[in-house]
């Protein structure tokens, strides 16, 4: 697919590589996440049920890793779409990148803060 490989020349090499690396991390961790929540515990989701699951360190580590990787992957994906639409001008692109980083860091910190209610 020429369409996808051409992405390299537009968004930069590091975002391109980051998107692939986080894709692999997300595929593994999201499958663990979905099997535990939508297969094993389907119909039982509740505050207490989440607490029981997150009591296992491995599950907590999985979800935190998923949060980190998926927030990067989602916002970098949005960036790819917006650049395709044609965000012109150095300043506009730099400003948009800063906005995405701030939004991403906020989402990750807020997400971990939210999860920690089950840890402490």
């Amino acid at each position: 697919m020429r369409t996808e490989t051409l992405d390299r020349s537009r968004g930069g090499m590091w975002p391109w590589l980051g998107q692939r690396v986080t894709a692999v991390v997300v595929i593994v961790t999201i499958m663990v996440h979905l099997v535990l929540t939508h297969y094993v515990a389907i119909g039982e989701l509740s505050y207490d049920n989440i607490g029981e699951r997150l009591a296992a360190g491995a599950v907590l580590a999985n979800d935190v890793l998923l949060l980190l990787a998926v927030v990067f992957h989602a916002l970098n994906g949005v960036r790819m779409v917006v650049l395709d639409w044609g965000l012109s001008g150095r300043g506009a692109r730099r400003g948009f990148d800063v906005f995405l980083w701030v939004a991403g860091i906020f989402a990750v910190v807020y997400g971990i803060w939210a999860l920690w209610v089950w840890v402490s």
Binding site: M1, R2, T3, E4, T5, L6, S9, R10, G12, R20, A23, V24, V26, I27, I30, L34, H38, Y39, I42, G43, L45, S46, Y47, D48, I50, L67, V70, V71, A74, L75, G77, V78, V81, L83, D84, W85, G86, L87, S88, A107, Y110, G111, W113, A114, L115, W116, V117, W118
Partner: protein, 131 residues
């Protein structure tokens, strides 16, 4: 860095005869599912954070609301979107690595078969909550 608009790229791909058929639809659905999942991600983070912001009862009342069969169905469709996006993503990475370019249609359908197979396992569990 040169910025190429989607329109220019489509034109370039039409020129090479690549902007058509399965590859085109896979790309469009890949983008669409990606945008839907990105939007859902932030809603999901907000919902789960209610366990800390509003306390256990407020999160449980949200979960009760999500028990509605139609919302369970929408949730199942999100699982479908994740599986499509994941398996098409595997195909994209294989293409980037130069694997299976000549047989990209076969690779696409194998990936979709894997996605459908895994989706069936989730459907098996979800259907009693939807019907």
């Amino acid at each position: 860095m040169r910025v190429v608009s989607a329109k220019d790229r489509e034109t370039a791909n039409i020129g090479t005869g690549l902007w058509k058929g399965i590859g085109m639809w896979a790309w469009m659905l890949f983008r669409l599912s990606g945008l839907i999942l990105a939007a859902y991600l932030f809603v999901h983070i907000w919902v789960i954070s209610q366990g800390r912001v509003g306390g256990p009862d407020s999160l449980d009342s949200l979960f009760e609301f999500f028990d509605h069969p139609f919302l369970v169905f929408l949730d199942f469709m999100l699982v479908a979107a994740v599986l499509f996006h994941a398996l098409n993503g595997v195909r994209v990475i294989l293409m980037d690595l130069g694997v299976g370019i000549r047989r990209h249609k076969a690779v696409f359908w194998i990936c979709m078969a894997v996605a459908a197979g895994v989706l069936w396992l989730f459907a098996y569990k979800a259907i009693p909550f939807i019907l």
